[in-house]
Homo-oligomer: 418 residues x 2
Amino acid sequence: MPDWLITGCSELLTLRGAVPRRGRTLGELGIIRDGALLVRDDRIVAVGRRRRIERLPEARRASKLDLGGRVALPGFVDSHTHLVFPASRVDEYEQRVSGKTYAQIARAGGGIRATVNAVRRALPKTLSERASTHLREFAAHGTTTIEAKSGYGLDWTSELKILCALQQLNQDQPLDIVETFLGAHIVPPEYRGRPDRFVELLVRGWIPAVATAGLAEFCDVFCDPGAFTVPQARRILKAGRACGLMPRIHAEQFRRTGAAQLAIEVEAASADHLEKVNGSDIRALALSNVTCTLLPGCSFHLGSPHYAPARELIDCGAIVALATDFNPGTSPTVSMPMILSLACAQMRMTPAEAIAAATINPAYSLRQHGRVGSLEAGKYADLAAFDVTDYREIPYYFGVNLCSLTMKRGLIVHSEKP
Amino acid sequence: MPDWLITGCSELLTLRGAVPRRGRTLGELGIIRDGALLVRDDRIVAVGRRRRIERLPEARRASKLDLGGRVALPGFVDSHTHLVFPASRVDEYEQRVSGKTYAQIARAGGGIRATVNAVRRALPKTLSERASTHLREFAAHGTTTIEAKSGYGLDWTSELKILCALQQLNQDQPLDIVETFLGAHIVPPEYRGRPDRFVELLVRGWIPAVATAGLAEFCDVFCDPGAFTVPQARRILKAGRACGLMPRIHAEQFRRTGAAQLAIEVEAASADHLEKVNGSDIRALALSNVTCTLLPGCSFHLGSPHYAPARELIDCGAIVALATDFNPGTSPTVSMPMILSLACAQMRMTPAEAIAAATINPAYSLRQHGRVGSLEAGKYADLAAFDVTDYREIPYYFGVNLCSLTMKRGLIVHSEKP
């Protein structure tokens, strides 16, 4: 792997020193004009103004990469995806457009259950190949680290099929994948009417097995009237934590259940969705270390005017992250730039807030902030360059992909013709 | 130019016979599975099932183009854009996100006026080069015919600068550009407080001059409290029609003014925006031949939950088209696929309705339906192929560009690596 001297950044967004702390969400972007980076192997060696970096002795030997006046920033960290599934659910999409609700479709056997059936039937190879294609698309939109959940198997064999596919993908392709066990996505058909029996199985069987086998770092629950209750979620997340799996939680998406408060109680790394939080939830989250991971792609794709209250969360001092929630039912997009456009236009986040919420903050929620999420010496050389001269144009030009180069650990994983 | 035998279309959306007529909006998509096209020079010679087309004598000599199972459809016709401007207005974007309204920004000298000032200062070469870059981006998203308006000059020299740039671009690059004179965009600073004097100038001076010089096919007015009144718009559009320029109108965007009824009265080719129409407007439009051109990118980018009532218009039988309204203030997107996603998720148009509204219907509104907008023998070989196997996935996968090939008049103008 060549060492790199990267120059030609009209704006280099470093996000240095921006690790989220309680009560102070979004650091400055640490913008360096005419910035440069020196990369050795997979790491950043130096970051600063071009004149200084170019004079470093190592700079002479490095391969030159001129970004031609583009804007460069840390590769996006997408901290909530359901990466592994075998097919789109475009039939449901047309049904929803024609007036059916997500809940109606789910009750008729569609929704998550439709994908569970498809995953159970799918060959591991099919799942891996499709996920692999999607990972290349993520990279093409500037993402370099991605969280991925199980939860479309819901029997042991099929959950393993997903988790093992993710482990293999983590080895075989360049992006970093952080794995989350979401055995508690919905109650599987085999346990219909007996959810507590399924929770028992999770708590005593699957969760310890996943942890022992080292197949995940996080444990997640979908806490919703159609999925699991707060008491069930509490048992599951505590069982996870006891085995070393940190909690994440799908909270307050379609109905307020109290899941946000549970996230605080169990010291979850992240509470995700939060469309239905109320004022006291917001204040409590702002006083916690729980990252509030907002997923505006869902509201958009479901045609709902209800977005999570990003403005209130930020203004109260909560740690806010943004993610795609890539999945075939409610958010089939791989594009973090699209999520930034939604965050700014629909949730009134500033472009600067949105960029911090797509880089260092989700890195923190995945406990990867020591390695990724900002451009600082010692961290991975994970970088995305955009074909704009002002970083605010990344969300501004909506619905298009202006990412012209993506580097992951010093490797160019996506490059547009100049 | 080679002749082409195009095969490998899992779905070929022909939109044959789908010319809009009053009271019957959206034809079937005329889908041919495993379809094929035969192209000679710039025209389609034959369309049908692969087996039949392959057997035609001309097919043997033609160059083979296998789309590998992708979905192919007529190139998009984008019937409302403000293509020529020198710079983004990303400062205003940040201000709006931070709480200022579009009207407040306009009153402070931003908005359209900011772009007018920039256009007046810009060199023709700068304007052309930027528009040319944007045209390549339009082509990369599947658009093959584009309407473009003047209206950012607002003095004679600067309006001419835009119209001449468009004429030159129409010669120098492959997409078809249809020109609209929008001298009546806003009242220029020189005529502040004397709008009727400016209308007089338009009616007696600029409009006849544009028509005589053959610099536009359509005449447009922005009818809005911040721009022109209905009586002023009537004078302008009638003057245009008297010179052979067909009327189009920016109607009912921010406030209901009666502009939709005026569109019917003057037999406008298109009434655009329509966010604020009422029930009687909808019924009247549905009984007219006026195409209702909806621009959901504006509502999206302005963060407004108010979209035009597409469902009601279609259900009443109106002719509905979709366009990007590409412009730096309210809709900086070149992506018709993004507009389709907005149409389906936010306005409840079905994917089939959205595709007809992006091809044959806008072709009709531009009076180009004899040449473009459907894939039929005798029409231009204007085609876009998407990397999906079901056409409904084009709007479904939102915020990404799945257009893998664009052909304009038999020429490949965009091609992704396979």
